[in-house]
């Protein structure tokens, strides 16, 4: 698929809301998935997996991500996840948003994988990021290499359809009444 970033963000936001995140959390999730896609990471797939897996809050990368973001200014101290985190790549954009607030990069340790995250880039060293890692986050003096961003996202169709299914839960079934009243047809529109 060939998608614009606005399409990705809107779909991620709606899908997250459809999966019972709050509207405010869903807004952050939309931005997070967009951030990943702009850096060539298949954020849609990570989100689809987490929405399907419905992890316990202590294993949820989104809950951890929001915790990091909301406590950005305390990240001189190390923040450790409460459990092993599924789809840990989803933590990276939240760390990027937190990094923008404190104007310092953050270091994420996920098992044997180390990630340095700045407002607009990340760099992985050690082993690749693995599902179900315990994560530690703290501010760091190191900076990731600059990254070029891409302008389009190309998730698999099945991934997009998974997000679509969740997004659909936010839509009200159409009724004739809503068709007529809800959108406000009135005087003829064919003249």
């Amino acid at each position: 698929m060939d998608l614009s970033m606005n399409e990705v963000e809107a779909q991620a936001r709606k899908a997250a809301k459809g999966a019972d995140y709050s509207w405010g959390e869903a807004e952050d999730i939309g931005k997070a998935v967009r951030w990943l896609c702009k850096r060539g990471v298949n954020g849609c797939e990570h989100l689809a997996q987490i929405l399907l897996a419905k992890p316990d809050p202590k294993n949820c990368p989104i809950r951890l991500g929001i915790l990091i973001l909301d406590n950005a200014k305390n990240l001189g101290d190390t923040l450790t996840s409460f459990g092993s985190v599924a789809e840990p790549a989803l933590v990276i954009p939240f760390a990027a948003f937190a990094s923008a607030q404190i104007e310092r990069p953050l270091a994420i340790q996920a098992g044997k994988c180390s990630v340095i995250v700045s407002e607009s880039a990340f760099e992985i060293t050690g082993e690749p990021m693995r599902n179900k890692s315990v994560i530690e986050v703290k501010a760091t003096a190191k900076s990731p290499k600059l990254m070029t961003s891409v302008s389009r996202a190309s998730p698999q169709r099945e991934t997009w359809e998974t997000l679509d299914k969740f997004a659909h839960r936010t839509y009200a079934p159409a009724t004739e009444e809503s068709r007529m009243l809800g959108a406000g047809a009135g005087i003829s529109d064919n003249d």
Binding site: L3, S4, G24, L69, Y171, G182, A183, G184, A185, N190
Partner: protein, 560 residues
């Protein structure tokens, strides 16, 4: 030289951000259409029609090209033969008289082929990063047939009918910003021509207007052969492009609080700068008075069948009479003449009349006003993210500042809570329903910021004043969007509509008009409480006639 730091402050958001006032806004020299026209003229853009391949029943395609100093853009237009029963302005339509896309550059054969398979079906198709917008338009059946008939006989159309309708086609959607696969705004916002908001959409509509004129003349020739006449340039100039806008536009203002605040703040800043002008020059006064005369003509042509707009129009017309009397008596030699007029207006006129004058006084002051157009976009991605360290007390204060009025509203009372905004499964369009009559509450969109702010304010009470807001958010994730908005309001004083957006009394057309006035629309004609017709580019010079002299005040018709 006028002092650039205004003495007279911007108006209070509590005055400006009421729905009835937002629903009375008028276009100004900061409107997006007018920004585009000035730029096209000052940069000497050139226009051409590389292709026009349309048959005698009006089916085919055409390409219109606009060349800036650095780039070119091409409107690719598809003309269709639409059975009358399929013609609808509603978003639920699936066929149109004409469909369009604005291509970034010059399209190849393959591009045209690809677009011909996608653009005519609109939402059911896909466009790519090479396309900046996608849109469609329907004929005004009455006027179209009349104009083709007259021209085919070598006659000009009846002026009264032209003025009554105002356009030959009306667009029913102009999609940009990554919709249906189009290029994201962030990929083009660094181009100087697209710095101001909605410039690609305005360029699309401007080129559509030329296509529509060419098409109607083409159809007249197909019918009348050599006997056919082209449209007289005077009549052609009066024709704009209509637009039919429904609820889809209303949530935009709530969903883009910083952007909306920037639009309003820029206009308020412009007004305060002009009010702070100590002495008006003879030329400035003469220009203002002549444009006022031209406005009177345009307002006379503005009609509506809708009872609310009819009443507003009758007030506006009586306001115009009061303004005439006032201007006759006005001593323009007094200090701060514009401030004195606007103070009088605020005490005397209806909101329609006040906002009409607030826009009009900006006209003689290009040097004070036009530069502000570069501040109307939203480049502050960072302000989206919540700062969790801000103390609870500060957030409560921000809510009080913006939504103080909402804290005493009884949000459980049915009339205050009567409506809910939702998105329909059918066409994914926003709709407004009756919360207590339809099963829609569980699908409610977060478009009632005042209600949510009042609830969050209550929920914040048990928290220590100096506790970080992150502690509250950890317990109350469902207030996250409200806390975000409150924090944004610290940077964006005009971000929030200071009225109940779910009350039984809500008129969504007020929200539509606020947005459309910034586009530069005129002659608002509500067709119900939730959709409105307008006219765009009426009076504008066509590409071949565009000069620096006529790029600015075209929106005010010349008085014969």
């Amino acid at each position: 030289m006028n002092d650039l730091s205004p003495l007279i402050p911007r108006r209070d958001p509590n005055v400006v951000m009421r729905l009835s006032r937002l629903g009375s806004l008028h276009q100004s020299r900061l409107s997006f259409m007018r920004i585009l026209m000035r730029r096209m003229a000052s940069e000497d853009w050139t226009f051409s029609r590389p292709e026009f391949d349309i048959d005698e029943i009006g089916v085919g395609y055409a390409v219109y090209s606009a060349k800036t100093p650095n780039r070119s853009y091409s409107l690719v237009a598809f003309a269709h033969d639409l059975p009358p029963e399929d013609r609808s302005d509603r978003v639920i339509a699936n066929a149109w008289d004409a469909t369009f896309t604005l291509f970034d550059g010059v399209p190849t054969r393959d591009d045209i082929q690809r677009l011909s398979e996608n653009v005519p079906v609109q939402e059911a198709g896909r466009i790519t990063e090479k396309e900046l917008t996608m849109s469609r338009a329907n004929r005004s059946v009455r006027l179209w047939e009349h104009v083709v008939e007259q021209l085919s006989n070598g006659q000009q159309p009846d002026l009264e009918q032209i003025q009554q309708v105002g356009y030959l086609m009306r667009t029913t959607a102009v999609y940009g910003s990554g919709k249906f696969g189009a290029a994201d705004r962030e990929t083009i916002e660094d181009r100087s021509e697209f710095k101001a908001p909605f410039q690609v959409e305005m360029l699309t509509v401007y080129l559509i207007r030329t296509f529509v004129k060419d098409l109607v003349e083409h159809m007249a020739r197909a019918k009348g052969g050599n006997a056919a006449a082209p449209l007289s340039s005077d009549i052609a100039k009066q024709l704009g492009i209509g637009n039919s806008t429904g609820l889809g536009m209303a949530p935009f203002l709530i969903n883009h609080p910083i952007l909306f605040s920037n639009w309003i703040m820029v206009r308020e800043e412009a007004i305060s700068r002009v009010r702070s002008v100590a002495q008006a020059s003879k030329e400035e006064i003469a220009l203002f008075l002549s444009l006022f005369d031209r406005c009177r003509h345009s307002i006379d042509q503005w009609t509506s069948e809708h009872p609310i707009q009819k009443e507003r129009l009758s007030k506006l017309k009586s306001d115009i009479a009061s303004i005439v009397t006032r201007l006759d008596a006005q001593d323009f030699d007094v200090a701060y003449p514009w401030d004195s007029i606007l103070k009088w207006a605020a005490e005397t006129l209806s909101e329609e009349g006040q906002e009409f004058l607030n826009s009009l006084v900006l006209e003689p002051y290009a040097q004070l006003v036009d530069g502000l157009s570069s501040c109307m976009s939203d480049h502050f991605e960072r302000s989206f993210h919540i700062d969790g360290a801000i103390p609870v007390e500060n957030v409560r204060q921000l809510i009080t500042d913006t939504f103080g009025w909402a804290l005493s509203v009884d949000w459980t009372a049915q009339p205050e809570n009567a409506r809910a905004w939702y998105v329909s499964e059918e066409k994914l369009e926003p709709r407004l329903g009756e919360r207590f009559e339809e099963p829609i509450a569980k699908y409610e969109q977060p478009l009632a910021p005042a209600r949510d702010a009042a609830a969050a304010f209550g929920a914040l009470k048990p928290y220590a004043k100096d506790a970080p807001i992150s502690a509250f958010l950890a317990d109350h994730p469902h207030f996250r969007h409200t806390i975000r908005r409150a924090q944004m309001s610290a940077l964006a004083p005009y971000s929030e509509i200071r009225d109940n957006t779910i009350s039984a009394e809500l008129l969504p057309i007020d929200m539509l008009r606020a947005k459309l006035s910034f586009f530069g629309a005129i002659h608002f004609d509500p067709r119900s409480d939730r959709w409105v017709r307008i006219c765009m580019f009426s009076g504008a010079p066509y590409p071949a006639d565009l000069t620096a002299e006529n790029a600015d005040f075209w929106i005010y018709p010349e008085v014969a």
